[in-house]
Amino acid sequence: MDLLTELTIFVLACFVGFEVISKVPNTLHTPLMSGTNAIHGIVILGGFIALATASDDTLGKVLAFIAIVFGTINVVGGFLVTDRMLEMFKQRPKPQRAIEPEVETEKP
């Protein structure tokens, strides 16, 4: 893919990233940080590709192997920790949630 197409994707993704989370209650800052943290675990894909490029370069293979281990820790650990944090926000039986009616209506 040519550089300009990739730059276009980059710029558009920047805007989406800014827009999508510009209104977040303080409460969710930590879980959100942790969630985005899990998403950059996408580097694990880079690890797969690097392992393929290393083919018969032994040191390269070792480095790519470590990169995949790191990427896995990032992905798996990141999503699990975020889930544990958010588990705490589970709906309680008490129906007194008048504070955020707009959220209620958004539920599918």
Partner: protein, 482 residues
């Protein structure tokens, strides 16, 4: 083509790209849902599904053949990551996030290194013909190397500080910023040289750049006080995202570009929101070495100030006969795991007809949202948690403010004392309530190393105890009142 039709369809680059588009959509939807309390958990799940799709699609790529080694690496990473994520205590979440962020940055730097080695003519894959590596590829490669290494080592130092393996106090050496600047310049010079001269036979220089960036990552975070660590972790999180995007450019992989950029952009916004909540610029956080000069200044005028201490039974009476109580939780509550005791006390007081609210400062604890998570864990109803702007006008009508392990966020010096380093930081106006009770282990200054003027106010009394046993003894005294 001798491959069967299904395999050739699955390995088709267009099919893989389509999967990446699906993953990108799921990441964006996931992030959006993560921004609302009631949908947040499903948002995380949606993003995880996106990740699974992206990973599966990549494994289909034709060039990826070494499945045994990949399976071994993934198994090893899972064995390390899952128990760590499962067993970490809620109070240790911030450092866990730092650690997971760090390994991501480390992975990016390592991938860059592998790619760099691949460009060597002596290297594998018959790259002799590719001695001219495109300039833009080299620029992105060096960017991901430097930023990835900074993120890895910076996050590790942040982890060490929060885990108290390294002193949480700002560690400062004179002229440190000059040294950091020089290291950065040297790393950049090396990177520019590599971009200009090409990668061939220049691996020693690449390793030198990697080492310099690693050193810079450590030195950058070392002088930052523990109170500012959340902002730093958030910034490093954005860094890792950007470096992952740069790796996507070098590897020609759109999934990496999209996901990395999303994290880079949203991480930058989060970082800004967090430093705004503390009324400080990011530059101030990074370069000011918060707290260090102030502790000395505050020590000077300690002599003429006195504080009152109180006992659990007194506190119990004050609380039980109040009509409105506001509880201000802070890091002390988190450390002592006092949230369940606090919830029991709340229940007991409410049974007696006392109105109890919680005042949540945006940066209470060591992470925004830290208190909400802990109190939610203890089943404190969500609508009792009031944010700063909502609760501040209510303090004048509050009989008792109960400060549990919070310090700097209640310091009235932030409003009145222009010489205070936290001057201008929005605080909870607890000093405006009729009475203030502070549960704290000692008079030692808090995380930012600043003396708290609140403790010397006439309406303030101190209950010296750790948060959990302090609240527990108040609770039993309240129960005894019958």
């Amino acid at each position: 083509m001798t491959t069967p039709p299904l395999a050739s369809f699955l390995q088709d680059e267009d099919f893989i790209s389509a999967c990446y588009i699906a993953a990108a959509i799921l990441f964006i939807v996931g992030l959006r849902r993560l921004s609302h309390p009631s949908t947040a958990r499903s948002g995380n799940l949606v993003a995880a599904v996106g990740m699974a799709i992206a990973i599966a699609a990549t494994l289909l790529k034709e060039e990826i053949t070494d499945y045994a080694l990949i399976a071994a690496a993934v198994a090893l990473g899972t064995l390390i990551g899952v128990p760590a994520a499962r067993s970490v205590k809620m109070t240790a979440m911030p450092q866990m996030v730092a650690l997971f962020n760090g390994v991501g940055g480390g992975a990016v730097a390592l991938i860059a290194w592998v790619e760099f080695r691949d460009f060597q003519p002596t290297g594998p894959a018959g790259n002799q013909s590719q001695e001219l590596v495109a300039t833009d590829v080299m620029i992105f490669l060096m960017f991901s190397t430097i930023v990835g290494a900074i993120s890895f080592w910076g996050s590790n130092i942040a982890f060490g500080k929060l885990q108290e393996l390294i002193s949480g106090k700002p560690i400062q050496v004179p002229g440190q910023q000059v040294v950091n600047g020089l290291i950065l310049l040297a790393a950049l010079a090396g990177a520019v040289y590599l971009v200009a001269d090409g990668p061939v036979d220049n691996e020693p220089i690449f390793i030198a750049v990697l080492a310099l960036a690693s050193l810079l990552g450590m030195l950058m975070v070392l002088p930052i006080g523990g109170a500012d660590m959340p902002v730093v972790i958030s910034m490093l999180n954005a860094f890792t995202g950007l470096s992952a995007a740069a790796a996507g450019f070098t590897l020609d992989n759109t999934a990496l570009i999209v996901a990395g950029t999303l994290v880079g952009a949203s991480g930058t916004i989060l970082t800004r929101l967090m430093s705004e909540a503390m009324n400080r610029s990011l530059g101030n956080v990074l370069f000011a070495g918060f707290g260090a000069p102030v502790a000395a200044a505050a020590a000077g005028d300690d002599g003429d100030k006195t504080h009152r201490s109180t006992t659990p039974d007194d506190v119990a009476i004050q609380l039980a006969y109040a009509s409105k109580v506001v509880i201000v939780p802070g890091y002390g509550m988190a450390v002592a795991q006092a949230q369940h005791a606090v919830r029991e006390l709340t229940d007991e007081l409410e049974k007696r007809g006392v109105e109890v609210d919680f005042a949540i400062h945006p940066v209470a604890g060591r992470m925004p949202g830290h208190m909400n998570v802990l109190l939610a864990e203890a089943d404190v109803s969500y609508d009792k948690l009031k944010e700063m702007d909502e609760i501040n006008p209510e303090f004048p009508y509050t009989d008792v403010s109960l400060v549990i392990g919070a310090n700097d966020v209640t310091n009235p010096a932030a409003r009145s004392d222009e010489s205070s380093p936290i001057y201008g930081m929005p605080i909870l106006d607890v000093d405006k309530s009729q009475a203030v009770i502070v549960i704290k282990r000692s008079m030692n200054p808090g995380f930012a190393g600043i003396d708290n003027a609140l403790y010397y106010e006439e309406n303030t009394s101190m209950l010296f105890s750790d948060a959990k046993s302090g609240v527990a003894s108040i609770l039993s005294e309240v129960k005894e009142l019958g």
